[in-house]
Amino acid sequence: MKLEIVTTEETIFSDDVDIVIAPGAEGQLGILPRHASLLTALNSGDIVVRKDGQESVIKVDGGFLEVAGDHVRVLANSN
């Protein structure tokens, strides 16, 4: 599953990952591969990404998250 996090200024994350946990507008949501297509607004908070047991945390200040096919795209607000 490919995750891409972009802001208006740059791409801050782009890699294959195992799971994405994001602060959705309706609560935390975890996204695993083969998730149904989804579009949600994001609240401010941490996006937790796990890959091969390694965890990384990326802070976002709201934005949108899209799941389509095997792609997760986060349009993060940078300001």
Partner: protein, 285 residues
């Protein structure tokens, strides 16, 4: 015929001009790298945003969620945001942007109102007696979202308040260092770029109408921000190339003038020598 001293003075002056244009070209080159990075890196966000908006618009029923930014009305007034540099010395770039703006305005049946970004754009609007909705000058060389948010705000407001019924944006698109193309894009009402056939069917959280309500203003902001970034990169690269050219021309001129000066000096020496030789010959005989 100019004297040797006049030409020497001329050479010095051209050399000074060459120094200035060289410096300007170098400054533009150093700014260009940053501007170019900003413009190309921002593209990914803008493209993703466009794809998502297009998908959502096809999925949402128009009547069920009334989105003011999607509404296409009868065009009684039309708006154009002209993004042009604050300063000149950019070769043909400014003229090209303003010419395509001018062509667009002529092609419209409805009266055109302007959001002017950049001093050259403002001058253009004033010169052509166009009604100005808002003006922005002195945007920094590294435009941040904070610089461009108010512009997008004014544009959406003019559209929502029915001051204008459609909005276009014109700016210099940065293709590469030697090529910048003026482009005109429709901004409002938002027209989806994709087709209904390959739109993705999403699950929405919280719901489609609310997402769209948040997404559309953000989309307009993104387009405007991106246009400003592209415009900035175009400006720097156009200036760099124009000033490089100017430096080359100045150097060439110095060479020509130096050649002319040496020829003149040689001629003067030759005539003087002939005079002396002639004088000596006259004395001896």
């Amino acid at each position: 015929m100019a004297s040797v001293r006049q030409i020497a003075r001329r050479i010095r002056s051209v050399e000074n001009t060459a120094k200035i244009t060289k410096a300007m070209s170098m400054i533009a080159a150093s700014k260009l790298r940053r501007s170019q990075d900003a413009a190309t890196q921002g593209r990914s966000y803008a493209e993703n945003m466009a794809a998502i908006v297009s998908n959502v618009v096809f999925q949402v029923d128009d009547d069920e969620s009334h989105q003011p930014l999607l509404e296409s009305r009868l065009i009684k007034n039309t708006g154009i945001a002209i993004i042009a540099p604050d300063r000149g010395l950019t070769g043909g770039l400014n003229a090209n942007i303003l010419r395509s703006a001018s062509d667009f305005i002529k092609s419209q049946n409805a009266p055109v109102k302007v959001v002017a970004v950049g001093k050259k754009s403002l001058d253009f609007a004033k010169r052509n007696n166009l009604e100005i909705i808002a003006e922005y000058t002195g945007i920094s060389d590294r435009p941040s979202p904070n610089d461009t948010l108010p512009i997008a705000g004014d544009i959406t407001e003019a559209f929502s308040n029915e001051i204008v019924d459609s909005f276009h944006i014109v700016y210099g698109q940065f293709v590469n260092t030697t090529l910048q193309r003026p482009v005109i894009e429709p901004l409002l009402p938002v027209i989806p770029s994709g087709t209904a056939a390959n739109a993705v069917g999403y699950i929405f959280e919280p719901n489609a109408a609310e997402i769209l309500g948040r997404l559309l203003p953000r989309y307009v902001e993104t387009l405007v921000h991106h246009a400003v970034l592209e415009g900035n990169a175009s400006e720097q690269s156009a200036r760099m190339v124009a000033m490089n050219q100017a430096t080359d021309n100045a150097n060439e001129m110095v060479e020509d003038l130096t050649l002319l000066m040496n020829k003149l000096r040689q001629e003067k020496i030759t005539t003087e020598l002939l005079d002396i030789v002639g004088g000596v010959a006259a004395l001896e005989s």
